[in-house]
Symmetry: C2
């Protein structure tokens, strides 16, 4: 392995990256874990997959409950994202610390986050270990969009725009400026 | 399921999205499949996971060989990306049609793509079915970066830049303008 090449690739491939919050609850304990390692993994039924490290408090809440909420923050939750990503739910009540409002979900026990732009209720249908993380694949059983024109929070770098390259049908391509 | 909410979420969450090409080979047959559904899934060892639909020609090449290359195109390969994403390797030789150069890899049989900015050689260590796709989790066994300052191809929308919000340590957040 060429470590310099790996460092360069990680830098090239890290940003922009949308951030989502994984919200999980089990037996009265709950937490919020912001992450960038997620992907769509099925169109029908709609499913998303997330990668969560086993040492995360949220990991076992998901593994034990078999459910999670994916809550998508907007720009006003950048500070809360930083807080939730750098503190453990074992010690801190992230809902109280970040003044977040938990709302009851329809299909899962984990709460929705009122302040987020989108909340997806997910049930785990499959999981597997991958190196130092676990992939949980969740089928989306309910969707709540608060603000269709909202702007989702992203992890970004110093590049502030795109050069447009090509559009054809539904495809549209560009590169960072 | 609220289908209007789902439509809105898919729109909010679709772009920007980096595009990578999955390159696979088995018993002399090879193909290239561009996709957006991929994620990091382990830091140590470095691993990436991809979601591939079973009806894709590339799917069985990966399943049978247990290997793939992730090749990351730059802006000059937007047309080739469109071509490879809309034609099947069962019928078309994408290497010839797009004038791509296959180079031998070090650790896997699937070829590197000379014209791409980055090539990752991956060995499948785990896979699982998720709705209408399969997740292949691959450990990265070799990395080749051709151009460290290159700009990777993205699927983009009409938003051409970001508003910067917050930076602290290695974290940096913004939203699309």
């Amino acid at each position: 392995m060429d470590f310099e090449d790996m460092r360069q690739f990680r830098q090239l491939c890290a940003r922009p990256e949308r951030i989502c919050w994984v919200v999980a609850e089990y037996r009265g304990q709950r937490s919020i874990c912001p992450l960038g390692w997620k992907m769509w993994t099925s169109g029908n039924p709609p499913m998303m997959a997330i990668s969560v490290a086993p040492q995360r408090f949220t990991h076992d809440l998901i593994a034990n409950s078999g459910e999670f909420v994916l809550a998508w923050p907007g720009g006003d939750l950048a500070e809360a994202t930083l807080y939730c990503g750098t503190h453990s739910g074992r010690t801190y009540d992230k809902f109280a610390e970040c003044k977040l409002t938990a709302l009851p979900a329809e299909q899962v026990k984990a709460p929705l986050i009122k302040e987020c732009l989108v909340n997806l209720e997910c049930k785990v249908v499959n999981k597997m270990t991958t190196g130092d993380h676990t992939i949980f694949a969740g089928v989306i059983v309910a969707v709540h969009v608060t603000s269709p024109s909202g702007k989702l929070l992203l992890s970004i770098d110093e590049h502030f725009g795109y050069d447009f390259l090509l559009q054809k049908g539904g495809y549209r391509f560009g590169v960072i400026k």
